[in-house]
């Protein structure tokens, strides 16, 4: 049973859970949450007074609130910019807190958040597509386009997890895949047409800036309606926290309420995204803080989480305005909340009651190949054919040609380093993903999710912006340091829980969000260096030269030579900690070694194909679906499949829109996403 703390608390006294009402916290107050909320509100109020004083003498405050003098620009700005921005920050924070709580309750998963169900990414992508392909649609209002995207993404998540009865884990897994896919398409658009998307950067990064009260008035009735619907469902939503049999025995139509609860939460998030863009981490932070602060019953959480969310975003937004001056848009508040929220979550993780750790894999019968060797040979043959194509066939000034002889030599000197680097990176990511999935027993595990890729990217950012002339060697070194630093953070957090799977995942999600926020802040400032970064982040093999290719290939060969030592552990680890210790294996030591290996594999490959591909997630799944069930054959199959996907991605990226190029990491995501979704559907 994978329940969160709330569910467990309710299980202890099921009789009272059934009668929970929004006001029951009066009898048993969540003191911590109330205190925290009061502290946030006090800080926000102090910051607001300070900001307002800068803009307008105190004597004019009341007048500018009630009836501003249009000739006095200061009063106009307070009335039509400062105050609506404050109102929007409160509304959005509250809506996200409420949505986060409902999502976590319905999905019975403390990881659930706007990002996890794919809604934010879907809304963002819809807006990017509309801007580029059909700008006239924007005339109807960008809100509606974002809403359509949010609900489409949600529908996709829903469809992908439907056949599993919308089980909590399948929803989160599908949400993650849809998010990554939407994000990849968005990144592809930006790489190809970046000069048009500067405004999307600002919006996407969650700028709360306002020019009038229209956004506030737009949000109020919509958020109000969704909130009312949620409060009317308190009782059935509380029962959703029970396990399925328990709830069903009480006569609750589980599917219907789960759907209604999710829809209300998605609508809330979509309204917020439509109005102000992606506000990172507030939903997750508010819901988590409310629970940690002692709000045990759902009724209490539904009151406390919006309060904390509103206070949190209000305080954050005022702090941003102190930093940037009044109405500063340079630091988008949504990105800043993610910057602040991620460390907060990292600090919270060891203190979070997640309930029992269970191998989360749904026990689903997968095929077992009777002759794994044959399967492996088939993948290997496919890889060889593809290698020939990638090296010899491509477009030029005179159309598509097979290159031979003298004509081939100069072309080959460009092609082989990229092909070798892509091959090595794909293979290493696949092995890293396989090891993570076997280690954690969690099908969502991969280097991308673990945060190691994000760490490498962070190192790269520091090198680009802190050093004036960071060449490739410096960037490489910085990325490696970043990857290992991220691993150390993850390990430090994981140590308390003996590297338990869910904590590592949470830590990784937090690190990834931190990194996303940084990227958004940097791109929103419009600094052209941000484009360099984006190009690398999307996994371009463009800059790979002979030495980089040989280095990556060499690292891959060395690490693969070590891999056989891990195979026995990887066969045993999925059996669970009791079984492992029963066999006399030191669980902690084993886990640590596996994680170190994963970090090395990830750092080396992320440098080549960027942190956004999800080969590590996909390749082991592919191998498993092809019937390779034991560790060694699955590892070989995954490595071959990872290499194959990456080489294909590089070739397509180089040739599809010649002379322009699509980064290989991005192509891998674009072709891999549907494959993974199809696998999930079966």
């Amino acid at each position: 049973m994978a329940e969160d703390a709330a569910a467990i608390a309710q299980e202890g006294k099921p009789a009272s859970a059934g009668r929970a009402s929004p006001w029951s916290f009066l009898g048993n107050q969540p003191v911590g949450a109330i205190l925290l909320c009061a502290m946030l509100l006090a800080a926000a109020l102090a910051a607001t007074v300070s900001n307002l004083t800068v803009q307008l003498p105190a004597a004019l405050w009341l007048q500018s609130l009630a009836a501003p003098d249009v000739a006095d620009m200061r009063q106009v700005l307070v009335h039509y910019a400062f105050l609506p921005r404050l109102a929007v920050s409160l509304l959005c924070g509250a809506a996200l807190g409420l949505a986060g709580t409902v999502l976590q309750q319905v999905l019975r998963n403390p990881l659930a958040s706007p990002e996890t169900v794919g809604v934010s990414a879907g809304a963002y992508l819809a807006l990017a597509l509309a801007t580029l392909l059909s700008p006239s649609l924007l005339a109807f209002g960008r809100e509606w386009i974002a809403l359509a995207g949010a609900f489409t993404a949600f529908a996709a998540v829903f469809a992908l997890s439907w056949h599993k009865g919308l089980s909590p884990l399948s929803v989160v897994l599908a949400g993650l895949v849809v998010s990554l896919y939407a994000g990849a398409i968005g990144a592809a658009l930006i790489v190809l047409r970046h000069e048009w998307l500067a405004s999307l950067f600002i919006w996407g990064a969650g700028s709360l800036g306002q020019q009038d009260w229209s956004t506030t008035l737009w949000l109020l009735p919509r958020i109000g309606t969704a909130a009312l619907a949620i409060f009317l469902m308190v009782r059935p939503l509380t029962l959703l926290g029970l396990d399925d049999e328990g709830a069903r025995s009480l006569g609750v139509p589980l599917g219907a309420y789960r759907f209604a609860g999710l829809a209300a939460a998605v609508a809330l998030i979509a309204f917020v995204v439509a109005a102000v863009g992606v506000i990172g981490f507030v939903g997750l932070a508010a819901a988590t803080l409310a629970r940690i602060g002692g709000a045990r019953r759902l009724g209490q959480q539904l009151v406390m989480a919006p309060l904390i969310g509103g206070a949190l975003l209000w305080a954050a937004d005022q702090a941003v305005q102190i930093a940037t001056g009044p109405q500063g848009d340079l630091l988008p508040t949504g990105a800043i909340t993610a910057l602040l929220g991620a460390p907060l979550l990292l600090w919270l993780l060891p203190r979070l009651a997640l309930g029992l750790e269970t191998p989360a894999l749904t026990a689903e019968p997968l095929p077992r190949a009777s002759r794994p060797g044959l399967v492996l040979a088939a993948i290997g043959l496919g890889l060889l054919l593809l290698l020939g194509l990638a090296l010899l066939y491509g477009p030029g000034p005179h159309g598509w040609t097979f290159a031979f002889g003298d004509e081939l030599r100069p072309l080959l000197s460009w092609r082989w380093p990229r092909v070798l680097a892509a091959l090595s990176a794909g293979a290493m990511l696949a092995l890293a993903g396989l090891m993570m999935q076997r280690l954690t027993g969690n099908p969502m595990a991969s280097p991308e999710v673990l945060g190691i890729s994000a760490g490498a990217a962070l190192g790269m950012i520091v090198a680009l912006f802190a050093l004036s002339d960071a060449g490739r060697p410096v960037q490489t070194a910085a990325a490696t340091i970043g990857a290992f630093a991220a691993l150390l953070v993850t390990l430090a957090i994981g140590r308390r829980a003996a590297y338990a799977p869910e904590r590592l995942l949470l830590a990784g999600v937090a690190l990834t969000a931190l990194f996303d926020a940084l990227i958004l802040v940097l791109t929103a400032t419009g600094d052209p260096r941000a484009m360099l970064l984006l190009n690398w982040l999307t996994g371009s093999t463009y800059g790979v030269d002979v030495s980089a290719a040989l280095l990556t290939g060499g690292i891959a060969v060395c690490l693969f030579a070590l891999a056989p030592l891990f195979m026995r552990w990887l066969d045993i680890l999925p059996l669970g900690s009791a079984a492992v210790q029963g066999l006399g294996i030191n669980l902690k030591g084993t886990r640590l070694l596996v994680l170190l290996m994963v970090a090395a594999l990830t750092a080396a490959s992320t440098l080549i194909v960027g942190p956004l591909t999800f080969i590590g997630l996909m390749a082991p799944h592919l191998a498993r679906r092809l019937g390779l069930s034991r560790a060694l054959p699955q590892a070989i199959g995954a490595v071959l499949a990872g290499a194959l996907i990456m080489v294909a991605a590089d070739w397509i990226g180089r040739t599809a829109i010649f002379p322009r190029q699509i980064p290989a990491g991005l192509v891998a995501t674009l072709i891999g996403g549907p494959v993974l979704m199809w696998l999930l559907r079966r």
């Binding site: 006239s136 800036g209 020019q211 500063g328 190009n535 030269d545």
Partner: protein
Amino acid sequence: MPDHTCRMTRRQALGLFTLPFAGMASAATAEPRRPRIVCLDDGLAETLLMLGVPPVAIADRQVWETWVVEPPLPPDIADVGTLLEPNLELLQQLKPDIILSTPYLDGIKPLLERVAPVMTIGLYTEAGQPYRRALEATRQLARLVGKESEGEALIAATDAYFSDIRRQLAPLSARPIYVVSFMDPRNVRVYGKKSLFQEVFDRIGLSNAWTAETNYWGFSTVGVDGLATSSDARLAYLEPLPEGAGGTLTESPVWNAMPFVRNRSIMRLPAVLMFGALPSAARFARVLASAMIAEAARG
């Protein structure tokens, strides 16, 4: 400067800015062989076009058509893909004699050097002064293609053109001007110190209303309401506009309370490359002057 020389250079200037190739074609026929230049910076490429030695390829023709516009790009100039990742296989097959690059692309310089020698010319750096750098770059490029006299003529013509504009605008130059590009209905890039436009302002005798700090490309991203610092300022905004910017702005109370909206001192300018060299500087002066004169004529 005596008046008659001004008239001479003004005529030259008109020739250069309205018919960039008319005077150059005859000079070009005398050349034994033009160097095959791949140019990865639009500011350098526009300078080459004005010198009468078009590059064989540039990065991203689409960007040129939207953001540079003038001088028009001859159709036979190849497109090597995006600026950050010019297609190396295609570059090799174009067999250039030299590749012109900027410090911004230093990351890929080792790759480019495998194709042909690379000359790096930076117009935009931490130190600012893009106009002075553009002058140096013009001379450098003129030497490279053996068109020293055309280079000096371009510089002299641009200087003379600025003096000319300065005289025309003298009666209109009292009020400061914001120059912005809209990012979305709420946010603009406003150009200031270290920008090409600032240096044009200095030369044609206008004052920039945006005096705060800028990044090293010479702009700052701010909300529209950040432009309320100066009460008598005018606003000039550049095309292309992001979709939706025009529609929603007019309904915003903050926008309508802005001093330049209430004074109706708003000018819409056609696209000018904000990161360009001399031709872009001259184009900016020309489109701004004609907008200001048209505004003055309206009263």
